[in-house]
């Protein structure tokens, strides 16, 4: 079934999720929304409540060795001829720590 939001709900969601506009992303813009913004604070609060449910979605943690296995796979793929040159020690000598 195709579903979508009303204009007001859509506006509330954009306020909450569109971080490029500088709005939202910090979990609580409802208090700062005025009716003149085109959406009621109550509707923004309702949108926040629905979105907050998403935070309950679990996600398995990655295996501790995922990075290591990824790098190993990379190394197996990379032929010796494609090895990147190592840093020239005369040019890129470690800086002494302060």
């Amino acid at each position: 079934m195709d579903v979508t939001l009303s204009n007001e709900d859509a506006f509330a969601i954009d306020l909450l999720l569109d971080r490029s506009s500088g709005a939202g992303g910090n979990g609580g813009p409802a208090a700062f929304v005025h009716a003149a913004d085109g959406v009621s604070p109550e509707r923004v609060r309702a949108a926040e409540k629905v979105l907050r449910l998403l935070s309950l979605m679990p996600a398995d943690e990655p295996a501790a060795d995922l990075t290591a296995r990824t790098l190993t796979r990379l190394e197996r793929f990379q032929p010796a001829s494609m090895q990147r040159p190592t840093l020239d020690p005369l040019v890129h000598s470690p800086h002494p720590h302060a």
Binding site: M1, D2, V3, T4, L5, S6, D9, A10, I13, D14, L17, D18, R19, S20, S21, G24, G25, N26, G27, G28, E42, R43, R45, A46, A47, K49, V50, L51, R52, L53, L54, S55, L56, M57, P58, A59, D60, E61, P62, A63, L66, T67, A68, R69, T70, L71, T72, R73, L74, E75, F77, Q78, R84, T86, L87, H92, S93, P94, H95, H97
Partner: protein
């Protein structure tokens, strides 16, 4: 112990905006985003022994181009948790998520020289990951071509039934559900969504990409980002409302969704 020159662990990387059960809107800037990427050669920190925390993603990639293998392993480690979370939520299983995770960084390695260091690394990384994840889904699907359009065709995201978010919010069950049951219901609602809606919801809500960056990642117009995201939220809210109503009806009455 693997003696690979790549094999190093500089920590678990940036905090993941999608902590389990936590507030995904906690504004935590990724550690790789301070300062401007140095696109003109290795960073002055390359090979200095300064940890990954002192370098942006773009600096790490630049250093890798200049031969600092540890920089690449730092990048992988930095994104291990966040990228894996995106993939496991999108693909629905660990094995596929791990496979695409590795394929993604293989692609990063292969394309490192072509990456414009004036751009942001993170959206590029997720572009690669999302493309590879979709490729995997398509290769596994038994449906006709264009499964991403199977449910909602381009331009049709705004033509469906209207879902009232206030109604969905008010129909949160009065009887508190066990947290595990809540998580299962939410997971069911999200994993049951069409892939293109689930994908955009993950990118926006859990990984907090601005609309403009989502437009670049998915290679769709900004207007489509909005309409698709609205459809995704509506889809989730509708499923949740059905779940809440089924909960109120009590056991044995069947679950909505």
């Amino acid at each position: 112990m693997n003696a690979s020159p790549y094999n190093s662990h500089s920590g678990n990387g940036r905090p993941d905006a999608s902590r389990n059960g936590g507030d995904a809107h906690a504004a935590v800037l990724p550690s790789g985003r301070f300062g401007d990427g140095n696109g003109d050669g290795a960073s002055p920190l390359a090979g200095s022994g300064v940890g990954a925390e002192g370098r942006t993603d773009e600096q790490l990639l630049s250093d890798y181009r200049h031969g600092d293998k540890k920089a690449f392993s730092d990048l992988v480690s930095r994104y291990q948790r966040e990228l894996y979370h995106f993939l496991v939520r999108f693909l629905g299983n660990r094995a596929s998520a791990e496979d695409v995770f590795q394929e993604t960084f293989l692609q990063v390695h292969q394309s490192a020289d072509q990456f414009d260091l004036q751009r942001r690394f993170r959206p590029w990384l997720f572009t690669i990951a999302a493309n590879k994840a979709r490729d995997l889904i398509r290769s596994q699907a038994r449906r006709p071509a264009n499964p991403l359009q199977a449910t909602i065709s381009p331009g049709d995201e705004e033509s469906g039934e209207f879902i009232d978010l206030m109604q969905s919010a008010n129909e949160t069950p009065d009887e508190p559900m066990e947290k595990q049951e809540l998580q299962q219901q939410v997971q069911k609602a999200v994993t049951g969504m069409p892939e293109h809606l689930r994908e955009i919801l993950l990118l926006s809500y859990f990984h907090q990409f601005p609309y403009k960056q989502i437009s670049e990642i998915l290679d769709i117009p900004l207007g489509t980002v909005k309409s698709r995201l609205h459809a995704a939220v509506a889809h989730f809210a509708d499923r949740w409302k059905n779940t809440a109503q089924a909960q109120e009806r009590g056991p044995g009455q069947g679950r909505g969704g």
